[in-house]
């Protein structure tokens, strides 16, 4: 009872007038002032609430799919506040970002953040740490050390995984399927040569006709002198044309027909589509009112 009374008396000057001085009250005041000085500048609770603000901002970025941006935000704040837990958070987020982007650089950045976190956490366990500046309760320090170590281990494994992926030989691209030769070139060449051969035969015919006509005129006794010479020249030209025409015609036709036959055979073997199989070379007779002949048509 006496204690309660004395306390009430001692407490009076604290809230009352300074004029009524009491030495006991002065002691209490001094004590109160002293205890205020010893108050920590940062408590684990205050650090946690600071941390949560940063984490919320980072979470918003993560939700938007920006893992690297979230990691960077966490890292920036970790550096500003010197908070080891935020460093470990940043490390974890960098690792996730690196995993998603398959980026060794991001994972390595995460390892460095975890290492800084570990530096601070180990420092907090030592005697030199400012005990008035507590980022987390002493019991939680070892938990965060384990967390940081786990992140480093898994990040190193992830780097190995990404390196293996990057060093793996790329699968050989399937060679473009060689289109079987369908003999198209041979058919075209054959058609052209056949055409040349037919033209050669035409020239031969013209030459023979020219020669025959000249021969008839030469045999005519009324033809003589310069006329004879001219007819003779025509006859010789006709003979030359006939010989050249025979040569060109025989060679052209022989080569052309051979190539056409081979080309068509190849086309058949290559299994060309039904549409393509309709490719044909045709020699058809053609007549009009004044002349007749052969027309070579090709479809490839």
């Amino acid at each position: 009872m006496s204690l309660a009374v004395s306390l009430s008396i001692l407490a009076w000057p604290v809230h009352g007038s300074a004029a009524s001085f009491d030495p006991g009250a002065a002691y209490l005041l001094a004590k109160k002032k002293k205890s205020k000085k010893a108050e920590p500048t940062l408590t684990p609770e205050k650090a946690e609430s600071q941390r949560n603000i940063v984490r919320d901002k980072a979470k918003a970025r993560q939700d938007a799919g920006d893992q690297a941006g979230a990691a960077e935000a966490l890292s920036d704040e970790a550096h500003k506040l010197g908070d080891p837990v935020l460093f470990v958070d940043a490390a974890e987020t960098y690792k996730i970002a690196g995993d998603e982007a398959r980026s060794i650089e991001l994972v390595e950045q995460g390892i460095e953040e975890a290492r800084i976190g570990l530096d601070i956490l180990y420092f907090l366990l030592g005697e030199r740490a400012d005990k008035g500046h507590q980022y987390l309760a002493e019991d939680d320090v070892s938990t965060q050390i384990d967390r940081a170590r786990d992140i480093i281990t898994s990040a190193e494994a992830l780097i190995g995984e990404i390196e293996a992926e990057q060093n793996a030989e790329p699968e050989p691209e399937p060679e473009p399927e060689k289109k079987p030769r369908d003999g198209k070139g041979m058919i075209i060449a054959g058609a052209v040569l056949t055409g040349v051969g037919v033209a050669g035969l035409g020239v031969m015919g013209a030459g023979v006709g020219m020669g025959a006509s000249a021969q008839g005129q030469v045999n005519d006794p009324t033809v003589y002198g310069t006329t004879f010479d001219e007819v003779d020249r025509k006859g010789k030209l006709g003979n030359t044309l006939a010989f050249v025409g025979v040569g060109v015609g025989v060679v052209g036709l022989a080569a052309g027909v051979t190539l056409l036959a081979l080309g068509l055979k190849k086309r058949k073997q290559s299994g060309a589509s039904a549409e393509e199989e309709t490719a044909r070379v045709r020699v058809v007779p053609a007549f009009n009112g004044q002349q007749g002949g052969l027309v070579l048509t090709g479809r490839f």
Partner: protein, 139 residues
């Protein structure tokens, strides 16, 4: 007039004279390598390094109060052979290297560490208005 006995020695001597300073310039790091037992070397004359010494929080506060009005200095810290974090007066500052870190004059408790390995720790006295350069060696 005195003549050299071996005329070929002259160009050889000239070459040696040229090579010697060149060799010294090419390897300044080896020449200035920190070999202090504490693994921390202070390259500034006025700064004082007391390895393994500690400062209590109250001593730090007193020191801070005493030097509050003094002009600040700049601390440059380089690390040889690895990575480390730097702690000053009980708090994390940054990872090494430190470039022109503004610091109050007076005594400071310093620790440089890599994870659970303490590379260097002690008390460093910083003179005012000075660029203090320190080198820490990673084992």
């Amino acid at each position: 007039m005195r003549h050299l006995k071996h005329p070929r020695a002259l160009p050889l001597l000239a070459a040696l004279a040229l090579t010697l300073p060149l060799g010294l310039t090419l390897h300044p790091r080896d020449a200035q390598a920190c070999e202090d037992e504490s693994r921390l070397c202070v390259d500034t004359a006025n700064a004082k390094w007391e390895p393994d010494k500690t400062m209590s929080q109250s001593a730090l506060k007193r020191e801070r109060k005493k030097n509050k009005s003094k002009p600040t200095s700049n601390l440059h810290l380089t690390i040889e052979g690895g990575r480390a974090s730097v702690f000053l007066d009980g708090r994390y500052v940054d990872t090494a290297p430190l470039k022109s870190y503004e610091i109050e004059a007076g005594k400071h408790d310093i620790q440089v560490r890599d994870g659970d390995i303490i590379l260097a720790e002690g008390v460093l006295r910083i003179p005012s208005k000075t660029d203090v350069r320190i080198t820490v060696v990673h084992p």
